[in-house]
Symmetry: C2
Subunit: 231 residues, 2 copies
Amino acid sequence: MKRYIVIVAGGKGLRMKTDIPKQFLCIAGKPVLMRTIEAFDRWDSNAEKIVVLPKEQFDYWNELCQKYSFSISNLRIVPGGETRFHSVKNALDTMPTEGIVGIHDGVRPLVPAQVIDECFDLKPGEYGAIPAVPVTDSLRQIDASGSHAEDRSRFRTVQTPQVFDLRTLKAAYEKGLPTAHSFTDDASVMEAAGHHIKLVEGSCQNIKITTPTDLLIANAIFEQNNAACQK
Amino acid sequence: MKRYIVIVAGGKGLRMKTDIPKQFLCIAGKPVLMRTIEAFDRWDSNAEKIVVLPKEQFDYWNELCQKYSFSISNLRIVPGGETRFHSVKNALDTMPTEGIVGIHDGVRPLVPAQVIDECFDLKPGEYGAIPAVPVTDSLRQIDASGSHAEDRSRFRTVQTPQVFDLRTLKAAYEKGLPTAHSFTDDASVMEAAGHHIKLVEGSCQNIKITTPTDLLIANAIFEQNNAACQK
C-alpha cells in the first residue's frame, strides 16, 4: 500500500525565546525541519512527504531550501490551519483515500527508522499504531484539592509518527471537526471516532524540540549518532 | 531551621547496559553522584548531607573519593534498604526530629539552586513541597481494552528534591511501612499519611539519568552550564 508522511510544522517559536520558529532552528548546522524530512527520506525515499507549514512561512522556507541546497523528491508543502487539528486536516484533504499515513511532528528530527517501521507495520484489522514510552518520573494529576499521585506504570507518553489507515483517518477527521480544539494528537481523533489504537515501542531519542535545552540535547544526540555511523 | 539533604543512590546499573551502577558513571570526567552532592554543597555547604548507598558499594565509593580527591564537609553515608522506601527510611532513622529535609535522587546531578530554594521555602502550615513540570508529550493511560488518551494539561511529572518537615516525614514513613512497596516517591508517602503537598516549578534541566541517552544529555547540559558560568 502506498505510504505517506505528513510532517506538521506549525511552531511560531514563542517558547524558544527567539523570533525564529523552532522548526527552523539548527541542529548541527541545518534547520530542524530539514533534519526531520531527511529522516523520513532515508527511511523510504518513495514515500510521499507532505509538510504542513504556516502560509506566512512559505517564502522563508523557500529561501532556506536555496540556502541549504535542500532538494528532496516526493515532497510538497501545504498551508497550516488554525490548530494542529486543522493543519493535519488541510494535508489529508489533499490526499487520496487509499494508503497508509504517518503524521509526524516537524520538531522530532531524531526519530529512528526502526520506530517508523514498527508504526507502519499495521496488521489486518489494525487501523492505527503510535510509538509510546514509559513515564520515568513520578506522575501527579491536578485535582480540586491540588494534586494527587498516580501510578506511573499505568501511563505512557506518546511520540510520533502516529500511523493510520488513510481512509479511516480521513473519516475520523471529518467526524472530529466540531470538537477540533479538544484533540492534542491524531490517536485521540481516531479514538473519538471509535477506533482502537495499537501502542508500539518508542525511543528515548525521539524527542520533541520545544525548549532551548531540548535543542542542546538534540544536537548532542545527533552528533553521537553521526559519529557512530562514521565508525 | 536546620536543613538536611538525603541523596538516594540505590541504582544497580541494569538499565545502563553496564556493570557500573549509574550513579558512578561520569559526567565531564566525574561520577554522577559526586556531581549531585556538589550541587547541594554549592547551594548550602552547611546543610547536612546524607547519602544512601547499597552497602556493597561502600568500598568502591571510598576508592572513588580517593581517586577524585573528593572531600565534602557535613557528609555521611548510610546503607540502602530493600526498596527506595526502605533506603529513605534508613536515612531518616539516623536523623533528629527537628528540621527540614530534602530527599533527592542521586542521579539528578543538574538540579538548579533555584529549584532547591523554592522547595525548601515551606510557609507556616505547609509540610511538603515538590518540583513538578508539565507533560510535553501526549499522555495515555493503559486500560483493560488497551489504552486511552488523557488530557496531559491535568498532569505533572515530578522531580526531586522533595522537601518536607522532618518530624512529619518521619511519622509518615513509620505509618507507610506496611505498604512500603506501593510508593514511588516521598510525596506519595506523605499523602498516604494525610498530608497536602505543594507543587513548585521544576526545571527541564533537572533530568534523572536512567539510560545511556540521558547520560549523553546530562553531559551536554553540564558543559553548556559550565561554559555559561565561565563567560
